[in-house]
């Protein structure tokens, strides 16, 4: 909890510093929103040609889109800054985070916080709200609980993927491309029904990089649909456990990476 206080102060400082470059801030916010809307436009244009995608209607895919987009946006806002570890390692400034009595990951993500990324949350949040209204969801107390748990878990899973892929920088220094393939690529993959993909890809998204848990399994249960790969409907409730496992794995990988840190230059 005390760490949270430090985080708040560091983030506040970053926002105040960025505020001195207001024009840049608003331009970026605008471009972020435009990029997010483009993703949506792609889905919309697909549905202008077909009625359903792998048996999923437009409203159902919108639910997937929202369930994937909101956690992705939240992870992007709060933890994706870990990507900058690569830049800091190269410049030798990562050392400074290690000299502070707060966790380096918290310090790094707070110091590199970018409020302008909030645009990445707003747009899918709007889509999610619309989808929740129009999609054929069997509403119950369980559905509401599943929705909330899924959003939190999804954020943790995306965040973990970010931390793990960014940790590669400690061995290779250059890692942003790999990280982006999993994070941005993963976000795109989770926005569609995984029935669209080949079986190996479905298995990859379920078991290796557990992104199917972020949106697909919970959405399928909320909509009363069959799960893929012969999995039971209740697999949706595995999501929070997958999230906890992801966080623990990410923590271990990050700790290993920091111990491996070689600190360039003098």
């Amino acid at each position: 909890m005390a760490s949270l206080g430090v985080w708040r102060h560091l983030v506040g400082a970053r926002i105040r510093a960025d505020w001195q470059y207001r024009t840049s801030f608003f331009l970026f916010l605008l471009s972020q929103t435009a990029v997010a809307c483009m993703d949506l436009a792609v889905v919309a244009s697909i549905f202008s040609q077909v009625d359903s995608l792998a048996g999923w209607s437009g409203a159902e895919v919108a639910l997937l889109f929202g369930l994937s987009g909101v956690p992705f946006g939240l992870a992007d806002l709060t933890i994706s800054q870990v990507e900058s570890a690569s830049r800091h390692i190269k410049a030798g400034t990562f050392d400074l985070f290690l000299l502070r009595p707060v966790p380096a990951l918290l310090h790094l993500s707070a110091s590199e916080f970018a409020l302008r990324r909030a645009g990445r949350v707003l747009q899918p949040a709007v889509v999610l709200v619309i989808a929740l209204v129009v999609a054929p969801i069997d509403w119950s107390v369980e559905t509401v609980a599943l929705l909330l748990v899924t959003l939190v878990s999804g954020t943790l899973i995306f965040g973990s993927v970010w931390v793990v892929t960014s940790s590669i920088a400690f061995w290779t220094v250059e890692s942003q491309e790999v990280a982006n393939a999993f994070t941005y690529g993963g976000s795109l993959a989770t926005s569609y029904p995984i029935d669209l993909f080949a079986t190996w890809m479905r298995r990859l998204l379920t078991f290796l990089v557990p992104l199917a848990f972020v949106a697909y399994f919970p959405a399928a249960r909320m909509l009363g649909r069959d799960q893929p790969l012969g999995l039971p409907s209740s697999v949706a409730w595995a999501t929070p456990f997958v999230a906890i496992a992801s966080v623990l794995a990410a923590r271990a990988v990050w700790a290993l990476a920091v111990r491996h840190h070689r600190s360039t230059g003098s």
């Binding site: 005390a2 430090v6 560091l10 050392d95 290690l98 502070r100 111990r259 840190h261």
Partner: protein, 319 residues
């Protein structure tokens, strides 16, 4: 506890494994030894200079002392802690200044950086205010507190960095090139401040530097590292006595003449009526040499130059 060395290092080594080009595509894994077994004890309250050529292992040692780097082998204790394991706890007890890397928030006023550090280090507000007042006065920062860091000169920023490193009252201060790039006045201000800090608060200071004036002005003890090994560890005076055996007698003659021929000394430079005679203190005393010179020519003025630490260190590296 008080008698135990605050920095205690035994057999400390760090080896990096790097990929070297071997042929067009192939890379060969190669071990590079940065630090090759260092033994070192530093007492509480000491001010120690740590010098060596570039790539000798200075920074690698400092980074292992702070826990940034995990040693390949050997034992490190800093204020009773093992740096790589207790890094966060140790961070509260050390202050670090890297001359080339700022730990201040570039776009914010100096005061904001200090305030953030107060939260990061959990310094009680009253103590923070007292420390800030003291350092702002000692380093003459008062008028700069509300200036964004990016607008400060290098010398002003360095004074800010020192304050930032000290606000949490660390008993140990590690300085990596604290005077690099500073003008003479700023350098002197930083040195005076460090001497005062050490005297008043007993802060243990370990500094790496290329500027040997820093060492002469600040340190009693000098460590010299080369190729990852400590090649010297003694007092500055001891090193001067051991290696600085060559002194120079500078004489101003009544009128210009050819280089003097004197027993026990050789002329190294002539500039008009002024001549430089180098001699070894073991061979002849300055007084005796002067007698020999005045037996030959009239001397108007004279001075004796002791070897400076810079010359000595260059001689040690060259061995």
């Amino acid at each position: 506890m008080a008698d135990e060395p605050i920095i205690d290092v035994a057999g400390l080594a760090k080896t990096f494994s790097v990929l070297r080009k071997a042929g067009r595509v192939r890379r060969r894994r190669e071990d590079v030894v940065a630090v090759a077994g260092i033994d070192l004890q530093i007492e509480r309250g000491a001010m120690v200079g740590y010098i060596g050529p570039n790539g000798a292992g200075k920074s690698t040692t400092i980074k292992m002392l702070t826990g940034i780097l995990v040693p390949s082998s050997g034992r490190v204790r800093v204020d009773g802690l093992e740096p790589s394991r207790d890094r966060a706890e140790l961070a509260k007890r050390i202050g670090v200044v890297f001359g080339q890397r700022s730990q201040l928030w570039w776009d914010l006023p100096l005061r904001d950086s200090f305030d953030l550090l107060r939260h990061v280090y959990r310094v009680p507000a009253a103590r923070h205010a007292a420390n800030l007042a003291r350092y702002a006065e000692g380093l003459d920062l008062g008028p700069l507190l509300d200036v964004p860091v990016r607008q400060l000169s290098l010398g002003q920023r360095m004074r800010g960095e020192l304050t930032a490193a000290l606000l949490h009252d660390p008993p140990i201060l590690l300085l990596d090139e604290p005077t690099i790039g500073l003008d003479v006045v700023s350098k002197e201000a930083v040195r005076e401040f460090l001497v005062g800090l050490n005297e008043e608060q007993g802060t243990t200071v370990l500094l790496t530097t290329h500027d040997l004036t820093d060492v002469e002005r600040l340190c009693e003890r000098l460590l010299i590292i080369d190729h990852g090994t400590l090649i010297e560890d003694s007092t500055v005076a001891g090193i001067t006595a051991r290696y600085g055996t060559e002194r120079t007698l500078v004489v101003d003659l009544a009128e210009p003449g050819p280089p003097l021929q004197v027993n026990g000394a050789r002329v190294t430079r002539v500039e008009g009526p002024r001549q430089w005679l180098r001699f070894r203190r073991d061979d002849v005393s300055a007084a005796e040499l002067l007698t020999r010179v005045t037996a030959q020519v009239d001397v108007r003025d004279l001075s004796v130059e002791e070897p400076d630490i810079e010359t000595i260190v260059r001689a040690i590296y060259a061995r």
